[in-house]
């Protein structure tokens, strides 16, 4: 007997026992259901894990029918939530690629079934990467408890740790990044008494001590050069202050910051005066896909923390020569945010070189604590910038990352409860128009409600990340290399 038949048998038995035959809606609503997570009319890749959901409000049973192409369908019924059998789901999506699923949800309230208007789930033909890597950390202030960098297979619900801070008690792990989405080329920092930057190049791991006598701090925000020979980093002297007004909590800002480029082969930090000016804050570097430009955020220096709300960053560019690691001699402003009293953070160029996606806030650079933070898209061909209304919400949208084919992006948003950051994935069509994003699906629909961690820095990866935590520990103990500086 095939898996589908077994499932259908179990389903029908369930229906017979629980509902006395079949679902026969007494009321048909013209409204679409309100679901958690909200999967109504979203666009998904065909390899995504089942979109399990529950309906909002009280009910004693819920029923959902997923109808795809070629007459294939799945029907699920439960007292609490819709948990779709993984194999049926996978087959249904494969069969419906390039088309959409029709989903009909009914709920049983006071012994009567109410059927909602059907909605669509669009199944894109465009593939998505293997998985996501993110840090799970409580959205706190100065102190941190258990945290870690984790990977998640997008086709299943499997999550596994890459590195956890329990490995080195009292430490913090942060700022993971990949060369595009390559799991064999990865970077992250371990902060604490036994700390350092872990750099994995083509699967080989090194631990670096990145503070030099010419730079103000260890390396902070990273971005890989497409060649893998360089990484751009900011160096930041960061401080925090705390709001007393109810709508705000924390303000994180730089007292000073610069941008440097790390030469992997020479173990050398390269700097230029243009990116290390005392009168300027430079941060959030990222390389263009051709590797010849370095994008970054740039703001006029202000006295901190007194004038924290007057710091505004523009999106800028400087030429970079990957042949010899030299920088251009002028800085271009790509998006003048200060002209509209706004500030740019996290410029992330799409791998196809068409766009730069960034976050826009009222001031400063720590957008995750800014409720007004929204995602924007700069079309590098036309120079036009637009707010991505299709994906933004009334709450924070902050960190974002592109898939390797530039057609999906993942971003962190606080739209669910205003505090705990959750990863949303959205499709961007060939015209640069984004579709309604969907929340990373979980096996249990209460997962996000019960989780006291935020999803921090979600990054796509094209395969499973293999990091040996014991090697991390050993290298930080006795194999750390000191980075030198060259200007």
């Amino acid at each position: 007997m095939s898996k589908i038949s077994i499932f259908h048998l179990v389903f029908f038995l369930g229906v017979l026992v629980g509902c006395g035959g079949k679902v026969n809606p007494g009321d048909v609503s013209k409204e679409k259901p309100k679901l958690f997570p909200d999967y109504v009319d979203v666009t998904i890749p065909s390899t995504i894990a089942p979109l399990n959901f529950k309906a909002q409000g009280d009910y004693s049973a819920i029923d959902a029918v997923f109808e795809g192409k070629a007459g294939k369908s799945i029907r699920v019924q439960d007292s609490k939530e819709i948990c779709i059998p993984a194999s049926d789901w996978s087959e249904l999506l494969e069969a419906t690629k390039g088309d959409s699923l029709k989903v009909t949800v009914s709920v049983k309230q006071h012994d009567r079934w109410k059927q909602y208007a059907s909605f669509r789930i669009h199944v894109s033909e465009t593939p998505i990467d293997y998985g996501l890597v993110y840090r799970l950390i409580a959205p706190g202030y100065e102190v941190y408890s258990k945290m870690g960098i984790y990977q998640r297979n997008l086709s299943t619900f499997d999550q596994s740790p890459v590195v956890e801070n329990t490995l080195i008690p009292g430490s913090c792990v942060n700022c993971h990044s990949f060369k595009l989405t390559d799991p064999k080329n990865m970077n992250f920092h371990v902060r604490g008494k036994k700390g350092g930057t872990i750099l994995i190049t083509d699967g080989k791991m090194n631990a670096l001590m990145t503070k030099t006598d010419k730079t103000m701090s260890n390396f902070v925000y990273p971005f890989w050069h497409p060649s893998g020979n360089y990484l751009a980093y900011s160096v930041n002297n960061t401080h925090q202050v705390f709001h007393e007004e109810k709508g705000k909590r924390v303000e994180v800002g730089d007292v000073a910051s610069d941008v440097v480029v790390y030469d992997v082969k020479k173990n050398e930090a390269l700097g230029t005066k243009l990116l290390m000016q005392d009168s300027i804050f430079e941060t959030f570097p990222s390389f263009s896909p051709d590797g010849k430009s370095l994008y970054f955020c740039r703001a006029a220096h202000k006295k901190m923390p007194d004038k924290y709300n007057e710091v505004r960053y523009n999106l800028c560019r400087i030429a970079f020569n990957p042949e010899n690691g030299s920088f251009g001699d002028k800085i271009d402003t790509l998006f003048n945010a200060t002209a509209i009293n706004k500030s740019v953070t996290f410029p992330r160029p799409s791998p196809d070189g068409k766009y730069i996606m960034f976050t826009l806030v009222d001031y400063g650079n720590f957008s995750i604590w800014h409720k007004e933070a929204d995602l924007y898209l700069l079309d590098l061909k036309t120079g036009q910038t637009r707010c991505i209304d299709e994906v933004n919400s009334d709450n924070t949208e902050s960190y974002h990352s592109w898939s390797s084919n530039s057609r999906w992006f993942v971003f962190s948003s606080r739209r669910i409860d205003g505090l705990y950051t959750r990863p949303f994935i959205a499709y961007l069509d060939e015209n640069g128009k984004a579709r309604k994003p969907f929340l990373l699906p979980q096996a249990n629909t209460d997962y996000y409600d019960q989780l006291l961690y935020s999803f921090n820095i979600p990054e796509f990866v094209s395969g499973k990340v293999e990091v040996d935590p014991n090697q991390v520990d050993q290298l930080l103990d006795s194999g750390i290399k000191k980075v030198t500086f060259k200007q």
Binding site: G140, E164, I168, V241, F242, E244, E245, K246, D449, D473
Partner: protein
């Protein structure tokens, strides 16, 4: 009375004494422990413990620790656990054919563990781990066939490692000595068994570490959180753990030296040693000054302001944290201005303690900020205190505060998240259900005696928290809600405690909006002092209604020569602001 019943009577008396100690002498240590964990009746919570060696002991320990909310229940749990350990040690000893006369010495491991539990950072999970091990050793000692015993050890090594962490080695140690003593197996057989057991014991933790456990090797070997700080395991734990095996064998050997199994002198001698040794150990392990701070804190958490003041009336608190609780209680009872100098005061460290990255001080300081109306700071302190827990636990008390502060701030979605978690607890479920019901109706929140008031008190204008400018922050807060009497009294207390009379005089007129029936005593003292010292010619009358009693006392105070510590000064004036102004540095 037969000796088998005497040993049971001994266990019973031992248990009752332990219960009495924790229920009546040391109850607030149990309340303190309970607040720094949040046992959830959920599969995910269990999984989070099951994923680590020794986690099952920690899970079981946390399960029981949740009942410490009522300290007498906690006292029963500890008493029963320690008696179980004593009975297990005695049972094992008897299996080794120890003479029944030695039953009092079987209490040594329990007695020592009792001493450990006097330290708030020793967790029940450690004792549970020891009980698991004692249980396995007991089972082993019951088995009659040597081969089954050996097989049992092999099976137990991974199971016990996962349940109790590195303490599983005790079983191996016991079995090894036991088999040598029993001589039921051939030497070669025994050697092979031991080598395989040793390899298994070494390989399993090491493999777990290298394959999937992201903890330091030392922590993997120890497993259970005996101590709240997993990186530090005091040597005393090791001694106690080993004593569970050593005591039975010691009693076995001691039994060889005595002929009579009913020597009353020997029993009496042991009892004297146990009682005196126990008294010495527990009296040196118990920290009654910490117990006092914890009592203040618990009453503060429970909003038992009158009990705090009653405690202070019996014995004036002297530690900054207990003084912090007392000052808050006085403010909540509208007595801060009137009576603050009736008690020991020493600067604003006992009024609004500075933030420290630990789990105790922010929790207590957060209470002050909460009741003042600094809702964001109260929220931050609760969050930070919880995150600072070195054993990565979550705190039920902190989660409650996070829920409350989010309700006050109108962040209902976040509040709901915390309340859903509390709904999975045993004690806080009811509170969470009520809070969820209240949250659905804005009117109910407005009418809530605490949340409604704090909503009015909290700042409407944004400003940044500044540890060094507490006075300024209090001023801003009070300026926005002129009925926030606590904020005003804290503002005045700040100026008095920092001996800043200039600002005291500047802020005092703000009290007009609070409609005091009479000027609080401390304020009268400060006003009168300021007036007398600045108007020395006495040509003008003081523009404040100062009582004659205050005036007369000040005149006597001025005339009195002597040192601050002379009995006359202390007796007569230590309750005045003047005494604080002159003699407290």
């Amino acid at each position: 009375m037969k000796y088998f019943s005497l040993d049971k009577l001994f266990s019973l008396v031992f248990g009752l004494v332990v219960f009495w100690f924790f229920a009546f002498l040391y109850p607030f240590h149990l309340n303190y422990q309970e607040q720094y964990q949040m046992f959830l009746f959920s599969v995910d919570y269990f999984r989070s413990f099951f994923a680590k060696p020794g986690g099952i002991s920690d899970y079981t320990g946390n399960f029981f620790t949740q009942f410490y909310f009522y300290s007498w229940v906690g006292a029963i749990i500890i008493a029963v656990s320690l008696v179980l350990l004593q009975r297990a040690v005695w049972f094992i000893s008897r299996k080794l054919e120890a003479k029944s006369v030695f039953f009092p010495l079987s209490a040594i491991p329990s007695l020592m563990y009792w001493g450990l539990l006097c330290d708030e950072n020793y967790l029940l999970g450690g004792l549970i781990a020891l009980l698991w091990v004692a249980g396995f050793i007991t089972t082993y000692s019951i088995l009659k066939s040597a081969k089954i015993r050996m097989l049992f050890v092999w099976i137990s090594i991974p199971v016990l490692f996962w349940m109790a962490g590195g303490a599983f080695l005790l079983l191996l140690l016991f079995a090894f000595v036991y088999e040598i003593l029993k001589r039921e197996s051939k030497i070669a057989e025994l050697s092979v068994w031991f080598v395989i057991s040793a390899i298994l014991s070494y390989a399993i933790p090491t493999l777990c570490k290298s394959l999937f456990l992201q903890y330091p090797l030392r922590e993997v070997w120890i497993g259970t959180n005996y101590f709240r700080f997993p990186v530090n395991i005091p040597i005393s734990v090791g001694i106690i753990v080993v004593s569970v095996v050593v005591i039975p064998f010691a009693l076995y050997y001691l039994s060889k030296f005595i002929r009579k199994d009913n020597s009353k002198t020997l029993i009496a001698g042991q009892l004297i040693v146990i009682v005196l040794g126990g008294y010495f150990l527990i009296s040196h392990s118990a920290d009654m000054s910490k117990e006092e701070v914890m009592a203040y804190d618990f009453n503060c958490r429970m909003r038992r302001w009158d009990q705090i003041i009653a405690m202070a009336d019996k014995k004036t608190p002297t530690t900054p944290l207990s003084v912090t609780c007392l000052n808050l209680a006085l403010a909540k009872e509208d007595l801060l201005g009137e009576r603050m100098f009736n008690y020991f005061q020493k600067g604003i460290g006992g009024l609004m303690p500075d933030f420290v990255r630990d789990y105790t001080i922010p929790m207590i300081a957060g209470e002050v900020y909460y009741h003042l109306g600094f809702v964001n700071t109260a929220q931050r302190y609760a969050f930070e205190a919880m995150e600072a827990l070195p054993d990565y636990q979550k705190s039920s008390r902190a989660i409650m505060r996070l829920a409350e502060t989010n309700i006050i701030n109108g962040n209902y979605a976040v509040a709901e998240k915390y309340l859903h978690l509390l709904q999975k607890t045993f004690y806080y479920k009811h509170w969470a259900n009520n809070a969820l019901a209240t949250m659905k109706d804005e009117k109910l929140i407005a009418q809530h005696p605490e949340w409604g008031t704090l909503r009015k008190y909290r700042t409407q204008e944004d400003f940044l928290f500044s540890e060094g400018e507490k006075e300024m922050m209090l001023g801003v807060l009070f300026k926005q809600a002129r009925t926030n009497r606590i904020a005003f009294e804290y503002l005045m207390a700040c100026t008095l405690l920092t001996k800043d009379l200039k600002h005291f005089l500047q802020y005092f007129p703000l009290s007009e909006s609070l409609n005091y029936r009479a000027i609080p005593k401390s304020y009268q003292e400060a006003l009168y002092y300021a007036w007398v010292t600045t108007n020395k010619d006495g040509s003008r009358d003081i523009p404040y209604p100062i009582s004659n009693g205050v005036k007369q006392r000040f005149q006597l105070f001025q005339k009195m020569p002597g040192q601050a510590n002379t009995p006359s000064y202390k007796n007569d004036y230590s309750d005045t602001y003047w005494y604080y102004l002159y003699f407290v540095n």
